[in-house]
């Protein structure tokens, strides 16, 4: 072992001496052979000749000796690397183009992967995340997937080990005051006392929640804060335990800080503070819930079986094991009890036919994941296509270079290098290019992925909701991608470069190097580039058109002259009996403002992610199908609401002052509801209700998209606002510049109602636009990718055409000398360029048609085979072909016959 190491040292470090010795040895042997022949009586010259012949070339023998020496591998690799680096440095233009195009491609891929990694593959930072499961209700009907607190207690009691089950609310924004400072928004989640134990999260400071914290309603005004919040807002102060947070006006004591890195189970909503569920009523905590008929949302939720609002998480290694069975055993009595209230036989059977199932929860929950999954994979596919184009481009550049190096290759091969050895040398160059590109990609990826997440969730500054940092998965992916890339663009050129008929290449002058394979291969690569570019350009066109359609979609609302201010009387500390007078004061104050035509209050704002629905309705004269959920989205609105937001009444009447005395008895529905539930009859005067038909329909308004721009109007009902309803928005119709009203309304409210928090004031058109964030993101990204693809295709075309022109300089010279016209030559080159583009289009059009079908779910009112988009893409690529061909064509047409011939 030791001996081998010293030899390795000698071979690698004292290489000169070792080489000299080998040389001496070969020389000595040759001399000995000559002596032998001379002694046999040969003339001197003949003896030398025979000796050399016997050795069959000293250099190949030496090369083979070198190959068996210790450290031969290392030596070869370092030599190759040194040589490759020298070559790349000698061609800075080539190296720059290759590294930039590949680096951008790899960076885009790694960025997309980093986002996918964070969204889809990275597990929660807790112990054994694979054991966490979300409890879901399996049913043949769409049922609300939330649980009431008493049901959670029953489920827990049914378990063999009750300490594996935890309940949690959604993460909602609350108003937080720290040390009497300005109020700010904080993300708060209500959790059961064993939440942290079940998730396997420890405290980094202080303690976590205990069963005592949830012993009675309002008993424990305590909070556990997240490590990130502690660092961000409290400067990691060590004496944080015992500090006071004022959340929604309630004083809470911080008892501890959760472990670093844990911010709850909702990926895009990192939690700042966790509070026991028993504090719900004290905190005025409200979120979406499903309510039974006996629910009283104004009273504490934890003792009410009628308010379903909690998500349930269980820790178990066997999701189909005894825990699941125990949960279902505890769930069954609840189902049977609820079923006794249902009269219809079919409905009852459907209601009982529900089971609890455990769904893996290792990755936590994420709306973004569900929404962004499909676009993400489309974008990933597109970045891969872009990288393929960059690969083809680099391969072509390498091919061109290989041709100019063919004489060097021939020389090396004839001097005793094996073909494998030379191919290895060339592949080393490719790998170095790939590595440089990967390094560039890794620099770009974190920047790009952060930008991507910011654009997706609409957070311009401040901390990202979740980290998209480069972790080992991203590193491995980048390494694999760049390795595959290097192999893709490197192997074919290396093989071609070494494929030389030795004698031919040595004899040949630089001009008439045998063409054959190289020309065909590089033309094929350009055709492939054009085809793939068409794919990306078509995709970009489709997504842009889809975005245009969305932006032009008729909302059924007046968007440019409506200003919305979101308000929260509950957080302002207004008591329920103060609400109606507050609403009147707000509307009056707003209508006093110059430039405001009318104003109205409403429960739900427009395009504001506020959606309240009521199901299980009985509608007079409408026979529902078994299992059909008869439901309406609902909103409670002030008297001038429809005129303010621009909804047109098509039938019946508006709400009147008289309706305010009997607010629960009248409704105005939209056309979608009229179509669905009152086909072929007038809805005016018809009645409906939850148990009995008590609500009379007095009017029908035109359909409007109230939730998002993309979502067509669903059946909907409007009721007059009533004293028990919390208004979330104040809508204003302006006659002049809405921007002036935006500033004025905020000022007015802060003067007249200083207690009332005003969250967001925006013009409806802008608010509608935020619901198109994802569509705009995809359209922009695909446009960017398409543009990059076009640039690369243009570069590829230009490269091959100018190479061909250079190759034919002499021929062109002769032609001109013989009287060929310059326009004809110019046309010939442009024709060749367009020919390549046409071949690419022939391949690309079916490819694009097939691929865009896969993305059709993401498109809005655009057929994947949209003829105009396809035609425009084809025209764009033909233009690119003409542009790329222009410079080489001009050069070809201006070849000077004398110069060309003199070079001969």
């Amino acid at each position: 072992m030791f001996g081998r190491l010293t030899r390795l040292w000698r071979n690698l470090v004292h290489r000169d001496r070792v080489e000299r010795e080998l040389d001496d040895e070969m020389r000595a042997i040759e001399a000995l052979l000559v002596d032998e022949h001379r002694q046999a009586g040969m003339p001197a010259a003949e003896a030398v000749r025979r000796a050399r012949l016997a050795l069959a070339g000293v250099e190949p023998v030496k090369e083979r000796v070198r190959d068996v020496r210790a450290g031969a591998e290392i030596e070869t690799v370092t030599n190759d690397v040194r040589y490759a680096v020298r070559l790349l440095a000698a061609n800075p233009g080539f190296t720059l183009v290759a590294v930039l195009s590949l680096g951008l491609g790899i960076g885009a891929n790694s960025a997309m992967f980093a986002v996918a990694n964070a969204l889809v593959w990275r597990a929660l930072p807790v112990t054994s995340p694979e054991e966490l499961h979300l409890v879901r209700i399996d049913s043949r009907l769409p049922v609300p997937q939330r649980f009431s607190a008493p049901l959670v207690d029953d489920l827990r009691r049914g378990l063999p080990d009750p300490h594996v089950l935890a309940a949690m609310s959604r993460v909602t924004r609350a108003r937080l005051r720290l040390d009497g400072g300005e109020p700010e928004a904080a993300a708060v989640q209500l959790v059961s006392a064993d939440y942290f134990q079940v998730f396997g999260v420890s405290a980094s400071t202080g303690r976590l929640l205990t069963p005592d914290d949830a012993s009675a309603i309002g008993a424990a005004p305590v909070a556990v804060i997240s490590h990130a919040f502690w660092r961000r807002r409290l400067a990691s102060q060590p004496d944080v335990v015992g500090r006071e947070l004022v959340v929604n006006g309630v004083r809470l004591t911080v008892v501890g800080v959760a472990a670093e890195g844990f911010a709850g189970a909702w990926l895009e909503s990192p939690v700042d503070a966790w509070v026991p569920t028993t504090m719900q009523a004290d905190l005025h905590y409200a979120q979406n819930f499903s309510a039974a008929a006996d629910a009283e949302p104004d009273r504490p939720w934890t003792p009410q079986a009628g308010i379903q609002w909690l998500d349930v998480v269980i820790r178990t290694a066997a999701p189909a094991g005894r825990e699941a069975a125990a949960l279902n055993a505890a769930f069954r009595p609840h189902l049977l009890e609820a079923a006794t209230r249902i009269e219809d036989e079919t409905e009852r059977r459907l209601a009982i036919d529900r089971r609890l199932a455990l769904q893996p929860f290792a990755h936590g929950a994420s709306n973004l994941r569900e929404r962004f999954r499909a676009p993400m994979f489309v974008l990933m596919a597109m970045t891969l296509v872009l990288l393929s184009i960059a690969c083809a481009n680099t391969a072509n550049l390498l091919l061109a270079r290989a041709t100019s190096r063919q004489r060097e290759m021939a020389m090396r091969l004839s001097l005793g290098a094996s073909r494998g050895r030379v191919v290895r040398q060339l592949l080393t160059e490719s790998l170095i290019l790939g590595t440089l590109a990967a390094a560039l990609g890794l620099v770009l990826a974190p920047i790009a992925s952060e930008l991507l997440v910011r654009m997706t969730v609409g957070v311009q500054s401040g901390p990202l909701p979740f980290s998209v940092a480069v972790d080992w998965r991203v590193l491995v992916y980048t390494a694999l991608v760049s390795l595959a890339t290097s192999a893709l663009f490197g192997v074919a050129p290396a093989w071609h470069a070494t494929d030389v008929a030795l004698a031919d290449a040595l004899r040949a002058s630089a001009r008439n190097i045998p063409r054959g394979g190289r020309g065909r291969l590089s033309r094929a690569l350009v055709v492939l580039q054009v085809a793939l570019s068409l794919l990306l350009v078509v995709a970009a066109g489709l997504f842009l058109r889809s975005l245009q359609n969305l932006q032009a979609a008729p909302l059924g609302l007046e968007t440019t002259h409506v200003v919305s201010a979101s308000i929260n009387p509950v957080l302002g500390g207004y008591q329920p009996e103060e609400w109606m007078p507050l609403y009147e004061r707000l509307v009056d104050a707003a209508e006093q403002l110059p430039g405001v035509r009318s104003a109205s209050i409403a429960m739900c704002g427009l395009m504001a992610n506020c959606r309240s629905s009521v199901g299980g309705l009985t509608i007079s004269g409408y026979q529902s199908q078994p299992g059909e959920e008869v439901m309406l989205q609902e909103n409670y609105v002030g008297p001038k609401y429809f005129d303010t937001v621009g909804m047109t009444l098509v039938e019946g009447r508006r709400f009147t002052e008289r309706d305010r005395t009997h607010p629960e008895s009248v409704a105005i529905i939209n056309e979608a509801a009229a179509r669905r539930y009152f086909a072929n009859r007038s809805p005016i005067g018809q009645r409906y209700g939850e148990d009995r038909p008590t609500v009379e329909i007095v009017g029908v308004v035109r359909d409007a998209r109230v939730n998002t721009v993309r979502e067509a109007a669903v059946p909907m009902a409007f009721y007059p606002i009533e004293p028990a309803i919390v208004a979330g928005t104040l809508e204003l119709r302006t006659s002049g510049d809405p921007r002036a009203v935006v500033a004025a309304i905020r000022k007015t409210i802060s003067q007249t109602e200083p207690r009332l928090p005003v969250d967001r004031v925006s013009i409806l058109a802008d608010q509608a636009d935020t619901t198109l964030r994802q569509d705009r993101l995809i359209a922009r990204l695909t446009a960017l990718l398409g543009g990059m693809a076009l640039a690369l295709a243009c570069l590829g075309l230009y490269g091959i055409l100018s190479y061909r022109v250079r190759q034919r300089t002499a021929e062109l010279g002769i032609r001109f000398a013989l009287g060929a016209s310059r326009p004809a030559v110019l046309l010939a080159v442009v024709r060749e360029s367009l020919g390549l583009v046409l071949a690419g289009l022939a391949l690309g059009v079916p490819l694009a048609l097939g691929a865009s079908r896969l993305a059709s779910a993401l498109l809005y009112e655009v057929s994947p085979a949209h003829p105009w988009t396809l035609a425009s893409a084809v025209i764009v690529l033909l233009t690119v072909g003409a542009v790329a061909g222009a410079a080489p064509a001009w050069r070809a047409a201006h070849v000077d016959p004398m110069t060309a011939l003199r070079n001969e």
Binding site: R4, I29, L33, P60, V65
Partner: protein
């Protein structure tokens, strides 16, 4: 003069080189001539195979080398068996004889 050429089996060359150096140290050409002599001209070792093998065996520690004057006063690199080389020769010889015996029995059967 046409000669009966036999193909060298894998591993045979190493054994032949070790054997050629068993009696005295030799330079590369000497090893080649000795092998021809030992095999009555059945094997001619080409330089392209001989020298890599010599260097490999030296790196394995079975041969040692030194520069010395040759019979007609030329400087040449002389190879000699080391102690481990001699042990290796013994082992490989025994092994080869077992194989040869087994092969000839098999072919006679």
């Amino acid at each position: 003069m046409p000669r009966q050429r036999a193909t060298l089996l894998q591993g045979t060359l190493d054994l032949l080189i070790l054997k050629a150096l068993a009696t005295e140290e030799r330079h590369g050409l000497g090893v080649s001539r000795r092998i021809e002599q030992m095999t009555h001209g059945a094997f001619t070792v080409q330089p392209g195979s001989l020298f890599p093998a010599l260097h490999r065996l030296e790196e394995a520690g079975w041969l040692s080398s030194r520069w010395d004057a040759s019979e007609n006063n030329r400087r040449a690199k002389y190879y000699a068996l080391t102690r481990t080389g001699r042990k290796q020769l013994g082992e490989e010889t025994a092994q080869w004889q077992r194989i040869a015996l087994a092969m000839s029995r098999a072919l006679d059967a």
